[in-house]
C-alpha cells in the first residue's frame, strides 16, 4: 500500500503544472494536476488529495481562493498551499481571511528550490502552514501601507481618478487625496513629484502585485 502524500497541483499554465508535477513526483509524492478550478474540483473527488497546491490566478473561471474555499468546504481535512506570483493576497483584492485556516502561501520563485518546497508541503500537511507564509514575510514598500491606503493605491494602479476612487469607496474626494498623500509618504515618494507621484505609486504597486485586473 502506498502511503505517500497525495498532492493536487492546480495551475492554469500547463508548463508550470507539468514541471511542478515532475518536481513533486521526484520528491516521492503522488501527484495529479488540474488546469482550472472546475477540473480541480472534479479531480479532487476521485483523487482525494491530502494537499492542494493552488495558483491564485487560474485564468478564466473561478480563482484560486474560490477553489480553496470550495475544496476545504467539501473536505475540511485538506491542507492548502498557494503557489503564486502574487506576493500578498491583499494585492489581489482579497484579505488574509480569504485564506483557509492553516494554509501556506509560497511565491513561485520557490518552485526551483525543491528542499524549501518539500519542507513547506510537509509542514502544511501537519497543520503548520503559518511557518510558510511568504505573504507575511516578504518585505516590500507596500507593507508599510494600511489596508485603506493599499486599496486606494490599487485603484490608482487600476487607472482610476480620485473622483472614481471616492465613488467606489463611498468617501469624499478630499478623503481620497489625504489617503494618497499619506500613502505617497509611506512609499517614500517625493512630495514635489506632482502628477508623477501617481505614476510612481502605481508602478510600486505593480512591481509587487503585478497588473491589477
Amino acid at each position: 500500500m502506498n502511503f505517500n502524500l497525495r498532492i493536487l497541483a492546480v495551475d492554469d499554465d500547463p508548463l508550470v503544472s507539468t514541471l511542478l508535477k515532475q518536481t513533486l513526483q521526484a520528491m516521492g509524492y503522488d501527484v495529479e494536476t488540474a488546469h482550472s478550478a472546475a477540473e480541480a474540483s472534479k479531480v479532487a473527488k476521485s483523487f482525494d488529495p491530502d494537499i492542494a497546491i493552488v495558483d491564485v490566478d487560474l485564468g478564466a473561471g473561478p480563482d484560486g481562493f474560490d477553489l480553496a474555499t470550495a475544496l476545504k468546504n467539501a473536505s475540511p481535512a485538506l491542507a492548502v498551499v498557494f503557489l503564486t506570483n502574487v506576493s500578498d493576497p491583499r494585492l489581489a483584492g482579497k484579505t488574509t481571511r480569504n485564506l483557509p485556516a492553516g494554509a501556506g502561501y509560497l511565491l513561485k520563485s520557490k518552485m526551483g528550490d525543491s528542499r524549501e518546497l518539500g519542507n513547506a508541503i510537509e509542514e502544511v500537511a501537519r497543520g503548520r502552514g503559518k511557518n510558510f507564509r511568504d505573504d507575511l514575510q516578504v518585505s516590500h514598500p507596500l507593507k508599510k501601507l494600511s489596508n485603506s491606503q493599499l486599496e486606494v493605491v490599487r485603484l490608482l494602479a487600476n487607472g482610476k481618478s480620485n473622483e472614481e476612487i471616492a465613488l467606489i469607496r463611498g468617501t469624499t474626494v478630499r478623503a481620497v487625496r489625504l489617503i494618497l498623500v499619506r500613502a505617497f509618504k509611506a512609499l517614500g515618494i517625493s512630495e514635489s513629484g506632482g502628477s508623477e507621484r501617481r505614476v510612481q505609486a502605481a508602478l510600486e504597486y505593480m512591481k509587487v502585485a503585478g497588473i491589477p485586473k
Binding site: 495551475d11 492554469d12 499554465d13 508548463l15 508550470v16 514541471l19 518536481t23 482550472s36 478550478a37 472546475a38 477540473e39 480541480a40 474540483s41 472534479k42 490566478d57 485564468g59 478564466a60 473561471g61 473561478p62 474560490d66 477553489l67 474555499t69 470550495a70 468546504n73 467539501a74 506570483n85 489581489a92 483584492g93 482579497k94 480569504n98 513561485k108 520563485s109 518552485m111 526551483g112 528550490d113 525543491s114 485603506s148 486599496e151 485603484l155 494602479a157 487600476n158 487607472g159 482610476k160 481618478s161 473622483e163 472614481e164 465613488l167 467606489i168 469607496r169 463611498g170 468617501t171 505614476v199 502605481a202 508602478l203 505593480m206 512591481k207 503585478g210 497588473i211 491589477p212 485586473k213
Partner: protein, 591 residues
C-alpha cells in the same frame, strides 16, 4: 396675507403658486417688460374703457388719463425708491403688491375725480371699479411673473446643458487619460517584470553557449518594449471618437427662439378662464349689478367648453413660430369668448357700460391666451432640453461604460498574457535551471523551448475571451457540493451576447464573482443567475441566493468595484427570500 403666504409656502399642492409668489418677489418693477406691460395695459383701458364709458370729449378724457398716468408713475417710482431706501430690500413681494395697488389706486382716484370735476361723469364710481382695476393689474403682474419663471428656468437649463456637455467632455478625457495611464503602466510593468527573468535566462544560456540565446532574448525584449500593446488600436480609435464627439456641439441643440409650437396644446381654456375670469366677474357688478354679474358668470362657463372643442379641432401636428402660435391662441380665445360678448352686448340696452366690458374682457381674454401660449412654449422648450440632456447623458454614459468594459478586458488579457503565459514560461525555464543544478544539452534545449513559447505568446497574443456556455459548467463544477448554481439565459440575450466577445467575457466575470460573493459573504448554498435583455442593446443580470443579508459596507471591495466598472448600474437588495442583485450591462459590439 400672512395666512395666505403660509398656506402657499407650506402646501405642496401650491408649489406652482409658491413659485409664482417667489418669482413675484424677484420681479424688477423698473425693468422694461414691467414698465412696457403697465403702459400698454393702461393705454388699452384708456382707449377701450375710459373713453368708451365717458362717450364725449375723447381728447379731453385722454388728457385727463395722461395726467392720471403721470401721477401713477410718480407714486410708483417714489414708493419704489422709498422701499429701496428704507428697507434696502427689493425682493419683498408684499411691498411690490403694495406699490402696484397703491399707485393704481392713485391713478384710478385721480382719474375718476378729474372726470367727475370736469363734468364728464355723472357720479363717482371709485368703489365700483376698485376691485376690477386692482385684480387686473395684479393679474398682469402674475402673467409677467409666470413668463419670467419659465424664461429663467430656460436660462438655467441652458446653463445645465453647457455643464452637462462639459462633464461629458471631462469624462471622455478622463477615460482616455485612464486608458493612456493603464497602457503606459502595463507596458512598464511587463518590461520590469520580465526583464529580470530574461536577464537571468540570457546569462545562463550564454554560459551554456547556446547559439540562439541572444537572438531569442532580444526578440522578447523588443516585443515587450515596442510591439505588443496592452490596449488595441480599435480601442484607441473608440476613445478618440468619444472624446471628439464630447467636445463638439453636434449632439446638442442650442436654444432657438422663437421656436415652433402647436397652438392647440398651448391653448388651455380652463387656465385662461381661471386667470382672467375673476377680473371680469369683479368688474361686471360695477358696470351693471350683481344679479347680472352672476348671470354673466354662467355665460362665462361657455368659454372652457367651447375652448376645449376648438383646441380639439385644431390639428396638433401643425406647428408655428411662438409668435404665430400665440396669435392663434389669442384668436381661439376670442372665438371661445364670443358667446359671452354677445350676452354682454344683448344686455347693453339696460346697462350701456356693458358694451365697454365686452371690449375690455375680450382684451383680458386675448392677453391671457397669448401669455399662456408664450409661457407654455418656454416650458416646452425647457422640457425638451431636459429630455435632450437625459438622452445625451445616457448615451454617453453607455459609450463610456462600453469603453471601460473594453479597457477592463484588455487589461485582464494583458495580465493573462504577461503573468500567465509569458511569465509562466520564463518561470519554468528558470526553475528547470535551478532544479537541474548542472548544464546538459537536453536542459538547454528545454529552456530554449520555454523561451520560444514566451516569444510566440508575445508575438501572437491569444484572445482570452470566454463565452458563457464555457463558463457555466466551470462555475457549477467548482462549487459542486458546496453551492448549487442554476442559471438561465433568454434566447434574445444569448443572440445579443453572441455579437460581443467583450461583453460576454464581462458577464461571465460578473457571474463568477456573484457566486463567489454569495458563498463567501452569505454562506449561500443556492445561487440562481438569470440573463435577459433589458432595453435594446443592454443585458440585464439578475441573481438571487439563499445566503445571509448583504450588509452595506463602506469599503466596496473588489467585487463591487468590478461591477461598477463593467455595468451601467447595479444594485443589491435584501428580500425575504435572500439577497437579490441586478445589473445592466451595455453590449459593446465586436469591432
Amino acid at each position: 396675507m400672512t395666512i395666505l403666504r403660509g398656506v402657499i409656502a407650506n402646501s405642496s399642492q401650491f408649489s406652482g403658486l409658491k413659485e409664482t409668489w417667489q418669482r413675484l418677489g424677484r420681479i424688477d418693477l423698473t425693468s422694461k417688460p414691467v414698465i412696457i406691460s403697465l403702459i400698454v395695459a393702461h393705454t388699452l383701458t384708456v382707449f377701450g374703457f375710459e373713453i368708451g364709458r365717458v362717450g364725449e370729449r375723447p381728447l379731453f378724457t385722454l388728457a385727463i388719463a395722461l395726467m392720471a398716468e403721470v401721477l401713477f408713475w410718480g407714486t410708483y417710482l417714489t414708493l419704489y425708491a422709498l422701499q429701496i431706501w428704507l428697507f434696502r430690500d427689493s425682493n419683498s413681494v408684499l411691498a411690490k403688491i403694495f406699490i402696484i395697488v397703491f399707485s393704481n389706486t392713485v391713478r384710478t382716484m385721480s382719474l375718476e375725480l378729474a372726470l367727475f370735476e370736469f363734468g364728464l361723469l355723472d357720479e363717482l364710481r371709485i368703489a365700483d371699479r376698485f376691485l376690477g382695476d386692482q385684480t387686473g393689474i395684479l393679474m398682469l403682474l402674475i402673467g409677467i411673473a409666470y413668463i419670467q419663471v419659465v424664461v429663467f428656468d430656460l436660462g438655467t437649463q441652458e446653463l445645465e446643458l453647457d455643464q452637462a456637455k462639459q462633464r461629458l467632455s471631462e469624462n471622455a478625457r478622463a477615460s482616455k487619460s485612464s486608458a493612456e495611464t493603464a497602457d503606459k503602466l502595463l507596458r512598464a510593468k511587463a518590461q520590469e517584470l520580465l526583464g529580470g527573468q530574461l536577464r537571468a535566462i540570457a546569462k545562463y544560456l550564454k554560459s551554456a553557449k547556446a547559439p540562439a540565446a541572444e537572438r531569442l532574448t532580444n526578440e522578447i525584449q523588443d516585443l515587450i518594449d515596442s510591439r505588443v500593446r496592452p490596449l488595441s488600436v480599435d480601442l484607441w480609435r473608440q476613445l478618440e471618437r468619444i472624446e471628439d464627439s464630447s467636445t463638439s456641439d453636434s449632439g446638442l441643440r442650442k436654444s432657438r427662439w422663437p421656436r415652433k409650437v402647436a397652438p392647440a396644446s398651448d391653448f388651455r381654456p380652463n387656465v385662461i378662464i381661471g386667470l382672467s375670469g375673476l377680473n371680469i366677474f369683479i368688474t361686471a357688478p360695477g358696470l351693471s349689478n350683481w344679479p347680472l354679474a352672476w348671470s354673466f358668470s354662467l355665460w362665462m362657463l361657455t368659454f372652457p367648453v367651447l375652448g376645449f372643442v376648438l383646441a380639439k379641432l385644431y390639428p396638433k401636428t401643425v406647428t408655428h413660430s411662438t409668435w404665430l402660435g400665440a396669435s392663434i391662441s389669442g384668436i381661439l380665445g376670442l372665438i371661445a369668448w364670443l358667446p359671452s360678448i354677445l350676452y354682454l352686448v344683448s344686455r347693453s340696452d339696460d346697462f350701456p357700460e356693458l358694451s365697454v366690458l365686452a371690449f375690455t374682457s375680450s382684451s383680458v381674454i386675448v392677453f391671457t391666451s397669448v401669455a399662456v401660449a408664450v409661457w407654455s412654449s418656454f416650458k416646452r422648450e425647457r422640457l425638451e432640453y431636459l429630455v435632450q440632456i437625459e438622452n445625451l447623458n445616457a448615451e454617453r454614459s453607455r459609450q463610456l461604460a462600453i469603453v471601460d468594459q473594453a479597457v477592463w478586458v484588455a487589461r485582464r488579457n494583458w495580465s493573462y498574457l504577461i503573468h500567465g503565459t509569458v511569465q509562466g514560461a520564463l518561470t519554468v525555464a528558470i526553475s528547470r535551471v535551478q532544479l537541474a543544478g548542472q548544464v546538459t544539452p537536453e536542459l538547454v534545449g528545454q529552456v530554449l523551448q520555454d523561451v520560444e513559447r514566451a516569444r510566440a505568446a508575445l508575438d501572437e497574443p491569444q484572445s482570452f475571451s470566454q463565452s458563457l456556455d464555457d463558463v457555466w459548467p466551470q462555475i457549477a463544477q467548482t462549487w459542486d457540493g458546496v453551492c448549487a448554481v442554476s442559471h438561465s439565459t433568454s434566447a434574445e440575450a444569448a443572440s445579443l451576447l453572441a455579437t460581443s466577445s467583450a461583453t460576454s467575457t464581462c458577464v461571465a466575470e460578473i457571474a463568477k464573482e456573484l457566486v463567489s460573493n454569495a458563498f463567501r459573504h452569505g454562506k449561500a448554498t443556492e445561487v440562481d443567475i438569470s440573463i435577459s435583455v433589458d432595453a435594446p442593446g443592454d443585458i440585464l443580470i439578475t441573481s438571487t441566493n439563499n445566503g445571509a443579508s448583504v450588509k452595506k459596507t463602506k469599503n466596496a471591495g473588489i467585487g463591487s468595484e468590478m461591477f461598477s466598472e463593467l455595468t451601467s448600474h447595479w444594485s443589491w437588495k435584501n428580500t425575504p427570500k435572500g439577497p437579490r442583485f441586478t445589473a445592466v450591462i451595455p453590449v459593446a459590439p465586436n469591432p
